[in-house]
């Protein structure tokens, strides 16, 4: 078993095929989209492959240490940041092929006109927390 992160981007991924901003969809199309996402997560729970799902607000700031006794420095938000993560789903699956298959299904969520968005999702494997016992 291996865990994978499926990352959705506000910005930074290549353009989707059906690339219409959500505020220009009909309310029914938006409902259909969220129904699809919820059904997808519920189905993964049924197959025993769901781990978690979260969405992120687009606005964030950069923070760094600025020396002892000083408050941390903040910077941003940067409107021009190239890569902006919108949210993620974590899955626990038997193979890389299965992870690809699921990411493909998630990318088929309906958008404008009820047609699949064909959104680009970033698929990243988790680094495990332990090395195999028989390895050393």
């Amino acid at each position: 078993m291996a865990k994978y992160l499926m990352l959705k981007h506000y910005r930074g991924a290549p353009n989707a095929v059906n690339d219409v901003p959500m505020d220009q969809w009909t309310p029914e199309e938006i409902t259909a989209h969220f129904d699809y996402m919820n059904d997808f997560a519920a189905r993964l729970e049924q197959t025993g492959e769901f781990v978690e799902s979260q969405a992120l607000a687009p606005d964030g700031v950069f923070v760094r240490f600025d020396g002892e006794g000083r408050p941390p420095v903040t910077d941003g938000p940067f409107a021009e940041t190239k890569d902006l993560v919108a949210g993620w789903m974590v899955i626990d699956v038997d193979s890389y092929e299965r992870a690809l298959e699921l990411a493909g299904e998630l990318s088929a969520a309906p958008g404008a006109g009820g047609r699949p968005i064909h959104e680009w999702l970033e698929l990243r494997p988790f680094l495990g927390c332990h090395s195999p016992v028989t390895g050393g």
Binding site: M1, G48, E49, F50, V51, E52, D92, H130, S131, T134
Partner: protein, 379 residues
């Protein structure tokens, strides 16, 4: 109360219910309910006959659930089997076969084995595999549906059972369940119900690796390679047991993959210091192993052994015949280059291997190796 005892009784209790006519999925749920009740009740009211108690309670849970489900269909007569004495038949082996049935995915087989044979709760299994309990519950129900049509008395394949146990063993330790120890317990139990040299081989392999566990990680959690391990911390009693089990298995002259792997682990365990390791014999065992399996990792490990037995240049020559895309290939190349004295190449390869490492401890270890060499190199 003794949780280990409860777990050990699990397959026997489940076997009794199935023999009395309960279907596997319902019986398994009933046994899980009985285990949860045992954990609650036994500390204040310990039973005289633990197995009898579990059978009675599990059977009652099964009847309650079945009656609720079939009340309208009036099928009580069918399931109300007599509550006679517990039959003296051991169905443990059948349970192992069923839970590792080839129709199951590896992760389903692992989860079902840990619950139905191992007696772990769904919550414990979910914690060990870092997934939500609801997900693990679904994984187990789905696995049970997959094997619903499998006949309980159908003979199974020992090799698939061993692969499942090997997977559990390699998960190590996370949450409050020690999966490596659990895998050893389940393999030992299997060895008690079937006389098979590869079952013994896997048990020996697990014991020989487990004996080194305390020395495998430093206090800060970082990996300690075999050559640097404090051999004084190896569990000698466990090594002795593993070697004895292996020797008995090898004497039967039906060599298999796990016996060969255990033989290699035994040669490591046998060496008082890393320098005294019998590398030529380890290379011979890797040659045997390569005859038994097409797994390319064997050839990679063999290249490491050749590097120790015949020197790093021989090791690199052995490595040159292997596909560089293989996981850990670059880490092995780094190690062999370091042994040749080419520290710059080794440092570069260690850093490259760290970027491709499949888990955090290995990545951190390889990064430290790169840093160690880089700090020795002229800037």
């Amino acid at each position: 109360m003794d949780e280990a005892l409860v777990r050990q009784l699990t397959p026997g209790v489940l076997g009794v219910l199935v023999r009395r006519g309960a279907d596997f999925a319902a019986a398994e749920d009933a046994v899980q309910d009985a285990l949860v009740e045992a954990i609650r009740v036994w500390p204040v009211d310990p039973p005289r006959d633990a197995k009898g108690w579990l059978v009675t309670v599990a059977w009652r849970k099964f009847l309650d659930a079945t009656k609720a489900a079939t009340a309208r269909r009036q099928r009580e007569d069918h399931v109300d089997a007599p509550q006679g004495p517990v039959p003296d038949v051991d169905d443990t082996l059948q349970l192992y076969f069923l839970c590792a049935h080839p129709s199951l995915t590896p992760s389903s087989a692992v989860a079902l084995t840990l619950r139905a044979v191992g007696g772990l709760t769904t919550r414990q299994i979910a914690q060990a595999y870092l997934v939500p309990e609801a997900t693990m519950a679904q994984r187990i129900s789905r696995a049970k549906r997959t094997v619903a049509e499998v006949r309980f008395d159908q003979p199974g394949d020992v090799a698939t059972v061993l692969r499942v146990l090997y997977l559990v063993f390699n998960e190590g330790y996370s949450g409050d369940v020690d999966l490596a120890a659990e895998a050893i317990r389940l393999t030992r139990q299997l060895a008690g119900v079937i006389d098979h040299p590869e079952v013994a081989g896997l048990l020996a392999l697990m014991l020989l690796h487990h004996a080194r566990r305390a020395s495998r990680t430093a206090a800060d959690g970082s990996l300690v390679p075999l050559a640097d391990q404090d051999r004084g911390r190896w569990d000698t009693a466990m090594i002795t047991e593993g070697v004895a089990i292996l020797q008995a298995a090898l004497a039967r002259d039906h060599l298999g993959e796990f016996q060969a792997q255990a033989a290699i682990a035994a040669l490591h365990a046998d060496a008082p210091t890393a320098a005294e390791t019998d590398w030529p014999q380890i290379v011979e065992w890797y040659d045997e192993l390569a005859q038994l399996t097409a797994n390319p990792v064997v050839r990679l490990n063999r290249a490491v052994a050749v590097g120790e037995a015949d020197g790093p240049h021989a090791g690199l020559a052995a490595l040159s015949t292997i596909d560089p895309a293989l996981p850990r290939y670059t880490a092995v190349a780094a190690h062999l280059h370091e042994r040749t004295g080419d520290l710059a190449t080794a440092a570069r390869l260690y850093a490259e291997a760290a970027r491709a490492a499949p888990n955090l401890p290995e990545r951190d270890h390889l990064t430290r190796q790169a840093a160690r060499l880089n700090s020795q190199l002229p800037r």
